[in-house]
């Protein structure tokens, strides 16, 4: 079988992508501090992984300003709306990043900000609704240059 130079390159690149995405998955267990922070928001309930969309770059070149957007699927009416959304960074010196408080006046439960990430880690969003439901989403962000001083 003849493989052209172009095909060989494509194969190599594909294999590299597979190994790079597979490896960091191994070491991402939540520390006690992160578990405690999630519990504090969820109030003991186990958050359901649904309805929350956390948008963050896959690779952040500069850990000092990482743009993140969190959006929650909710009707945002007086009876059923998202009250609080907490953003946590699992690998920072302190896991807390920000807590957004929404009201029915917010119209939609969506917010964007910029955060610091010390190293490659998971970013977690935990959302609480006025009906007592707790949802979450998480996203791994690779950081090239950490952003916590030092």
């Amino acid at each position: 079988m003849n493989i052209t130079r172009r095909q060989a390159l494509a194969l190599g690149a594909g294999a590299a992508v597979v190994t790079m995405t597979a490896l960091p998955r191994l070491s991402l267990a939540d520390t006690d501090a992160v578990k405690a922070a999630i519990d504090a928001v969820a109030g003991g309930a186990t958050p359901e992984v649904a309805n929350v969309t956390l948008t963050a770059p896959e690779i952040a070149e500069n850990g000092n300003t990482v743009p993140i957007t969190v959006a929650i699927d909710s009707p945002m009416t007086d009876d059923d709306y998202v009250t609080d959304v907490t953003i946590l960074a699992a690998g920072n010196p302190a896991p807390g990043v920000a807590t957004f408080h929404f009201t029915p006046m917010s119209g939609s439960a969506e917010a964007t900000t910029r955060m610091r990430l010390a190293k490659t880690q998971d970013v977690i969003a935990v959302a609480k609704t006025s009906t007592g439901k707790v949802y979450m989403d998480r996203k791994t962000v690779k950081v090239t240059i950490g952003g916590c001083g030092g």
Partner: protein, 108 residues
Amino acid sequence: MAKSKPRVKVPKSADKDEVITIKTLISHKMESGQRKDKEGNPIPRQIINKFTCEFNGKPVFSCDLEPAISANPYLEFSARVPESGVFTFTWVDDDGSVYSKESKIKVN
């Protein structure tokens, strides 16, 4: 440090009950308390720890900020506009300073 200057982007007008996007930015160093100076002494934390947005006196959106928020904190969120009125934005500094800004909007 130079005085923190808040900047806000709100549309001038909107339809009734339209959901608009508001963008805010305030210049602030957001000193995390994790960094050390040349002698190795920790630099004390000084951040904006709270942001609130009200419309005609009613709360719309607020946010508790932690040291993990970047310098010059940027926030983008949405608001429903039921009537013409004034948005009031406030930022609270660790040192007790309060920065605020107002923005009018007209409902067509």
